[in-house]
């Protein structure tokens, strides 16, 4: 198992190197001039130049790159120019917010989409099937920011069921002590149920917004692979052996059908992380998505690079996790690994 993981990590190295290079070039290609931005509104050209030198932006690109990679090697992602804080600290403090939201969104989506997909496959061609398809597709057809604003309008502004969309907690609840960074978990660990309730109520709308968006790919995949499995010989054998419907569908069909679904989860997660950027903006969520967007629009290189790198590492880690999960479900992989 360890060697498999080791080999996997080795194969992702080129990907990470690619990500580093692409991000570096992309951020340098941004049109803004951070020096002018940070020189302030009344700076002279000399002042701008002075700042440019102090930021090291006057050096040739390859030199900047080498310096960047050296810093990376030391675990230094640089400082954000706009907030002045080390990017590492910022990411560490913001990542849990994004991760909590995205994971909850993904879980919500799976909880709804997987049964929908199974139902659609079992009742293939019926009105249930068509309805599932329409519902899931409709969810992915709206821009997330629009869904988010609509939900805020209905559930906060009109109905008042949901708390104000101002981040992870309302202004008057204090955050739980930082253990995992996930408010839900931390508040439970410390037994602070009021904070748990507060943070959960803040999470519901944005998580639903994300969940609705990722219904379609998961439901689609579940349905397709369920159909394939239901038509397979071993399901027929199971039926011919008189196994009841529940055993056939859950133990025989569903577990096999989950294999391709699990593999697509990585992709859906990546998809959600992208959508997250917009959702965070709508819900004033202090995650790393909104952080990166602001930085990108301000040509603030370091956070963008740090963000992308973090995401790349997470993506790789997630895929590794999925491989392991795949191995747990599928003995064929386990043995070979």
């Amino acid at each position: 198992m360890l060697t498999t993981i080791g080999k996997r990590l080795l194969t992702v190295l080129p990907t990470l190197i690619g990500v580093i290079i692409v991000t570096f070039l992309l951020t340098r290609a941004l049109p803004g001039d951070p020096a002018a931005y940070f020189a302030g509104p009344a700076a002279t050209k000399e002042a701008v130049e002075q700042i440019r030198v102090s930021l090291g932006l006057d050096r040739p690109l390859p030199e900047q790159f080498v310096r960047y990679v050296k810093d990376l090697g030391r675990g230094d992602l640089g400082n954000s120019l706009s907030t002045g804080r080390p990017v590492v600290t910022e990411i560490v403090s913001r990542l849990p917010a994004s991760a909590e939201l995205t994971l909850l969104g993904l879980i919500l989506s799976m909880v709804i989409a997987v049964p929908l997909g199974i139902l659609a496959a079992v009742k293939q061609g019926s009105w249930i099937d068509h309805t599932c398809r329409i519902v899931a597709t409709a969810g992915v057809s709206l821009p997330v920011f629009f869904t988010g604003l609509l939900l805020v309008y209905i559930f906060y502004y009109i109905l008042g069921w949901s708390p104000a969309p101002i981040g992870r907690l309302d202004a008057f609840t204090s955050a739980p002590p930082n253990i995992t960074g996930f408010y839900l978990i931390d508040s439970l660990i410390t037994g602070n149920f009021e904070t748990f309730r507060a943070s959960l109520s803040q999470l519901i709308l944005p998580a639903f917004t994300l969940g609705i968006f990722s219904l379609a790919p998961i439901a689609r995949m579940t349905r397709a692979s369920m159909l394939a499995v239901l038509a397979s010989e071993f399901v027929r054998t199971a039926r011919a052996s008189g196994l009841d419907n529940r055993t056939v569908i859950i133990t025989y069909a569903f577990r096999n059908a989950m294999l391709p679904v699990v593999t697509t989860l990585g992709m859906v997660f990546s998809f959600l992380l992208g959508a997250n950027v917009l959702v965070e903006k709508v819900f004033a969520w202090p995650g790393i998505g909104s952080y990166a967007v602001e930085a990108l629009l301000q040509s603030d290189f370091a956070p963008v690079q740090g963000f992308v790198l973090t995401m790349a590492v997470m993506y790789v880690a997630l895929n590794l996790l999925i491989d392991i999960l795949y191995g747990v479900i599928d003995p064929r992989v386990r043995l070979e690994g």
Binding site: P31, G32, D33, P34, A36, Y37, F38, A39, G40, P41, A42, A43, T44, K45, A47, V48, Q50, I51, S54, S80, L81, S82, T83, G84, R85, E90, S93, L149, V152, Y153, Y156, Y157, I158, L159, G160, W161, P163, A164, P165, I166, G167, D170, A171, F172, T173, E194, K281, V282, A284, P286, S290, Y291, E294, L297, Q298, S299, D300
Partner: protein, 538 residues
């Protein structure tokens, strides 16, 4: 009419919802809620030290409330709103100010202490002002605007006495000591965190407040929130009533409005004009609108390059702009028109003041033909995406209007981060922008925007000997108290500016603040940010 009706029903709906909905805040928090002010805005500070590199405007607000200056301004009443009095100063850290011919002497309040308990001394004052003129960038520039450029000008006479020596006679020197930049810092504390590379301890103050001000920052998550708590030992003025300020960043304007309407937020000051107008008519909230002091939104043209190097083209544009449409559809009336002065109206000794152009497409066409562009030309109109709410519809209207006289312009959105870079290149042919000066003097505005020394805000690259002479003349006259020459000079540069028309003023924008009915004590300041110290809630 229909819109109104809809608004009413929406308002009613919201009101019922507010009554029937369970309160978001549990009773346990009710007390702290009462003593806390929740402010929501689109963006937050990136640095809480105004001396820092690239501190943004929200950062100024923190500095204003968490630091003291030697002096500040008194308030006067303008249309029912407390408005800072340009000419009257009040003491803040200083107990007494004595202005002489070439220097000013300040006595510090004896009981003044920094937030860590160390007393405020003249050494701290000197160190702070030295810092302001030394760190470079914006603070140094701002100091220079009041002829404060050298450390030698600041003298700590004794622990309690501080003197500023004037470099030259300049009537902006004293007002410049009352802006945000010359704030007084705890030099001992900051020096402890200074390093060789960072002799002024900028890294420390970027994240921490080290002043004697009424509030101190207790928590700050960039882009998310700033929490400030009252400094109970403050001596700069009357102890503020609000114990805690929570400033949350809510990027979506719609959500900010919702927060206000639902009563969850206490104050917000950056909302679209439309929302302010509607909230005002709905009457649930207190809306205060005050014109920017010494500021205008304008259309600028690059006079160095064709086709806008031609005066007739510029005049044609001035006649083609849809002034009233902009006032109605973009600003919803929340601005002061800077166009269409009566033909015979005399020029005022004031700035801003309206010009005499009005929308007149026929005249514009004729002028354009005279200029040799009977069929118009193509160009680009640029704006700062950071203020897209106003700029975008404004540019769309301008674009449409100019198309009527044959000028086809495409719209170029420039992200906020790049805006200054682009302006600094001075190549944008046509653009819209806002400029306002902290110091409310006409010549201050003109030095920045029209003088031939071509500062960054002379975005038109305008060069005119006549204008330069008038501006310089006004500065000298003001310093010497020569009222007649001063008035003549001001009228002179205003007239020249309107004759040459390198930039076309559109309107004087309003600062709009929406507050819950139970919030009072709002004051208008030149920097247009909130002063928490006078706010009350009850």
């Amino acid at each position: 009419m229909k819109r109104r009706e809809f608004l009413k029903s929406a308002g009613a709906l919201a009101a019922t919802a507010a009554v029937s909905a369970p309160s978001v805040i549990s009773s346990a928090k009710a007390q702290s809620r009462k003593e806390t002010m929740l402010i929501v805005s689109e963006s937050g500070p990136n640095n809480i030290d105004i001396h820092g590199v690239g501190t943004n405007v929200p950062g100024y607000e923190v500095s204003w409330n968490c630091y003291d200056r030697l002096i500040s301004h008194e308030m006067k009443d303008v249309n029912g709103t407390p408005y800072y009095d340009r000419d009257k100063f009040k003491m803040e850290l200083a107990e007494d100010m004595n202005v002489g011919d070439m220097s000013a002497t300040f006595k510090l309040k004896k009981n003044a202490k920094f937030q860590d308990g160390t007393p405020v001394t003249a050494k701290d004052v000197k160190w702070s002002l030295d810092r302001a003129v030394s760190v470079g960038g914006f603070p140094t520039f701002q100091m220079a605007a009041g002829s404060l450029t050298k450390k030698e000008q600041f003298v700590a006479v004794d622990d309690n006495t501080f003197r500023v020596d004037f470099a030259r006679k300049d009537r902006l020197t004293i007002p410049d000591l009352a802006v945000i930049v010359p704030c007084i810092m705890n030099s001992g504390l900051v020096k402890k965190h200074a390093t060789e590379k960072d002799p002024w301890g900028l890294e420390y103050t970027k994240q921490n407040t080290a002043g004697s001000g009424a509030y101190k920052v207790t928590a700050w998550t960039p882009g998310t929130e700033v929490v400030m708590e009252r400094n109970d030992a403050w001596v700069g003025g009357k102890l503020p009533e609000v114990k805690k300020i929570i400033w949350r960043i809510v990027p979506s304007a719609g959500n900010r409005r919702a927060l206000l309407e639902r009563g969850d937020a206490d104050i917000s000051y950056d909302l679209p004009n439309k929302d302010f107008v509607e909230l005002k008519s709905a009457g649930k909230l207190n809306i205060v609108s005050t014109p920017y002091s010494n500021g205008i939104q304008y259309i600028g043209m690059n006079v160095k390059n064709p086709p806008f190097d031609n005066l007739k083209v510029r005049q044609a544009v001035a006649y083609a702009l849809p002034y009233q449409k902009i006032m109605d559809a973009v600003l919803f009336g929340l601005a002061k028109p800077m166009f269409g002065a009566a033909a015979g109206a005399p020029t005022q000794v004031a700035w801003p003041q309206p010009h005499k152009y009005n929308t007149d497409i026929a005249k514009a066409k004729a002028l354009l033909a005279e200029a040799g562009h009977p069929n118009g030309f193509e160009t680009t109109i640029s704006f700062d995406l950071g203020f897209a709410g106003v700029n975008e519809p404004l540019c769309v209207l301008v674009q449409e209007s100019l198309a009527q006289i044959g000028i086809k312009c495409s719209i170029n959105k420039i992200p906020g981060a790049n805006w200054r870079t682009e302006l600094n290149k001075k190549v944008l042919p046509l653009y819209t922008n806002v400029f306002s000066g902290w110091l409310d003097y006409p010549e201050y505005f003109f030095i920045w925007c029209y003088h031939g020394k071509n500062s960054i805000f002379n975005t038109m690259s305008y060069q005119s000997k006549t204008t330069d002479d008038f501006i310089d003349g006004a500065v000298t006259a003001a310093a010497n108290g020569d009222k007649a020459t001063y008035e003549k000079s001001v009228k002179g540069f205003v007239d020249t500016a309107y004759a040459d028309m390198p930039r076309i003023p559109l309107y004087q924008p309003y600062v709009n603040v929406a507050m819950q009915k139970n919030v009072s004590g709002y004051q208008y300041w030149f920097h247009r940010r909130l002063d928490y110290r006078t706010l009350t809630k009850g």
